[in-house]
Amino acid sequence: MSDPLPRFTAAERAVHWAVAVLMTVCIATAAILYNGSLAVLVGHRHVVEQVHVWCGFALPVPMLLGAVSAAYRTDVRRLNRFTSADRDWLRSKDRRSGRIRVGKFNAGQKLNAALSAGATLVLLGTGTLMWFTGLVRLSWRTGATLMHDWTALALGLLVLGHLAYALRDTEALRGMWSGRVSVHWANREHAAWADEVDPG
């Protein structure tokens, strides 16, 4: 009956999908570089390395460009800020019941955003130390390799979790694809936000 609600602007969606493509390439090339059987099977180590490194360096670029969009900046702020309702949501056993009225993002999405952003920066930093071998001494490069491996594993799991939630909720996926979501979905999953965009 009611029109769908605008959830993400074109700029936000462009940032999301650009990061998604770069992240996918990074993960695929990481698997080849890291797994011995794949590495020997695919070979061409230098090319794979180049693709991995440059997609990695490019990963933050869409996010930085997104900062020119006011809507993007506002959503980053929303993800950054945890309210008392977010803490209740994380602690409660009935967080999906709708009892706690969730804003545009639930506390799980906020945590995922923070952990993904932090992990991406750690990967960027440690990757830089590994790539430019003259920057720091050998023992720090060893430490950087260890951190890069563990952080990559953790971020890979976060990405898998993100995908699992997205694929389970096609309306959420539609929100990131077309920018709009149904009022029904918004009221169920993000009631406080639904009231905010459509007080009627």
């Binding site: 180590r45 952990l115 750690v122 050998l138 060893t142 390799t145 260890l146």
Partner: protein, 236 residues
Amino acid sequence: MPERPERTEQSELDGTPVGRRVVLGLLGLGAIGVVTGSAVQHGLSRALAPLQMRDPTGLSQLVPIGNTFRYYSVAGGVDHQDATSYSLKVSGLVHTPSTYTLADLQALPQIAMTRDFHCVTGWYVDDVAWTGVRLSHLLDLASPTLEAAAIRFRSFDGVYTENMTLEQARADDVIVALTMEGDPVTHNHGGPVRVYAASMYGYKSTKWLSEIELTANNIPGYWEDRGYPLDGFIGE
């Protein structure tokens, strides 16, 4: 009714900046990990590397717990070579060029050494046992001419090359390796025959060795062309 949405909006935009703290916290942990990780990994690897190297499933390799080999190959698929097909050429500026089969190499005096394997990117494996023919012995047999000043190693992957000065190549700890950890060097580790230069980073230790060419100049090899140091001594 308009009360509630307004209050909600304010609270979502003005909560505690937990996200920022998480990001900064992870960056701090990452920095500590970079500085102390080598020592931590050293302890872990002592305990776990033997397990990983003997894990027939290879699954433990998916978890970055300790120091294990990463398998680098710069070409596409590399053909497998064995005792019947393998040959090593010693060529270039020498008085007696020759070609060795695997059996020829095995018949030469073998030396054993147990040393760490260091990759320039930072990973390393402790105490790897190697045996093989000292490169200096092969060079003596070939008798380099006066113009010979350097070595160019080639790989039967068809792409990889490496360089060393003649002086570096004559060092006692540079061998043409035939076994690793008591068994013939496997294909993934660059077998049946590879170089192992103990004092140098792994990229100097050419895998799938097919030719040792003596040259007048120290011609940069594959990774040297891509920015790695020409000498490649560990720690430099």
